[in-house]
Subunit: 272 residues, 2 copies
């Protein structure tokens, strides 16, 4: 049973920043990923709709016999985590709590920045999570709606990307933050530009990578880790968008040229 | 219900390195700690006996109405974690898995050192935990039986302590480790000497501090976090040894001079 794959969902390729860290920290755990490119971006959508899409993707992967479901998308975590924890028959974890906990652990001056999509910022999920643990913290939140499109269009290493990042990060001047949460799983692809813009003294928290630590803990806690020293199942990737396009960006990011990618038509996703 | 304290046990004051991090990361969570100074050190004792002592301490704190039990002692974790997870009615977590996971996350060259008590090293618990996740890792383990006594005798800042640390750490010369797990919750008090001995390029993993991240995750996961923004209950400390002596070392380490410490006679600890 424990050789089953771990399921990951995202609106697009951002969730692969979580998968990349999982491949590194948990090399014997099989990956079953779905990206909802056909309906991307999730950021500007109403929470109700994001919850419905997330549930569809959760049910799709559950039907593939996963043992744990990771909402590798901040917007979907803020909209659907509690609901999916109640409705799916397996452990479900999101990316917001791990990112918040890591920031609380890292900050020395209690001044924490958060960058995320409009949906995540509007939900106030990071600020709530951080302040619930310690009201001493001060949280500076910024929506960066241009970041996801620039990553999904594979332009995240371009001059335009740098310019967009610089313009957005100007918001943090004078805030004296010592910690900045990348509160969207797409953002680590822009990490070099972000670090350059905020300076080397600000610790960047990759909420996705932190989530893998939580996945690893829950595998141990619930005795769900794969006990053999190799994957029992091949990694599989699904996309509601173009499989070729997914293969290109994902292969590039994961440094793999033989990804097993299957297109899933949105129309085939329905709720049970 | 969620305002209940979190329980922590150790053979002595070492577990306070976990508590110190908990006070920092989880300031609204009350602490209920017991140190078993009367029967310290645990390191050289048979696993069976350590398990029995740990169960006594677990039952003692459970009777104080704690909501979670943290085995803040590596020797006791290796001897009793699985058993107490089955027998206590609340979530139980140990320090070995969090330390192992943090080391796997940190290492770049897959060469990881572990220092711990004889009992922990003999149990092979760290090596097993690390290799089960990735056989690429190479683990170099060393028992340091002199470290706990030097901490418990409050001599951990002395020249003798430095000498003992230097002699032990010589073992790692030529191993090329880039990560070293402090696999005993007493060892962080010797951290400055240890870091000096192994050099600045070796990342020290404080298994106790890492455990607090796991405590925080499970509080979130099981909806057990205190929801108010202050402690509902005062922190309490118990010791089977001298309360005054405990107050001295613990107060010094936690930088608090008003610790609420109560002596608990070993004879009063019995198993239900």
């Amino acid at each position: 049973m424990t050789s089953q794959a771990i399921g990951y969902m995202d609106s697009g390729v951002g969730g692969l920043t979580v998968v990349k860290e999982a491949l590194r920290q948990l090399p014997y755990e099989s990956v079953c990923f779905i990206g909802d490119q056909a309906r991307l971006p999730y950021g500007p959508r109403p929470a109700e709709q994001v919850r419905e899409f997330s549930e569809q993707l959760g049910q799709f992967l559950t039907a593939k016999n996963i043992k744990m479901f990771v909402i590798a998308c901040n917007t979907a975590t803020s909209a659907a985590l509690e609901y999916l924890q109640k409705t799916l028959p397996i452990p479900v974890i999101g990316v917001i709590s791990p990112g918040s906990r890591a920031a609380i652990k890292a900050t020395k001056n209690h001044r924490i920045g958060v960058i995320a999509t409009e949906g995540t910022i509007k939900s106030n999920a990071y600020e709530k999570a951080i302040l619930s643990k310690d009201l001493q913290n001060k949280v500076f939140s910024l929506a960066c709606p241009k970041f996801v499109p620039i990553v999904e269009s594979n332009e995240y290493k371009t001059k335009i990307a740098k310019q967009i990042v610089d313009e957005s990060m100007a918001y943090f001047k004078g805030t004296d933050i010592d910690t900045l949460i990348l509160g969207c799983t797409h953002y680590p692809l822009l990490k070099p530009f972000i670090q350059e813009a905020v300076g080397p003294d600000v610790k960047l928290i990759d909420s996705g990578a932190e989530t893998v630590s939580s996945v690893s803990l829950l595998l141990d806690y619930f005795n769900l880790a794969n006990e053999s020293s190799h994957k029992e199942l091949p990694d599989r990737y699904f996309s509601t968008g173009s499989a070729d396009r997914f293969k290109l960006i994902a292969g590039n990011w994961l440094e793999m040229d033989d990804l097993n990618v299957t297109h899933v038509p949105v129309e085939s996703l329905s709720l049970k």
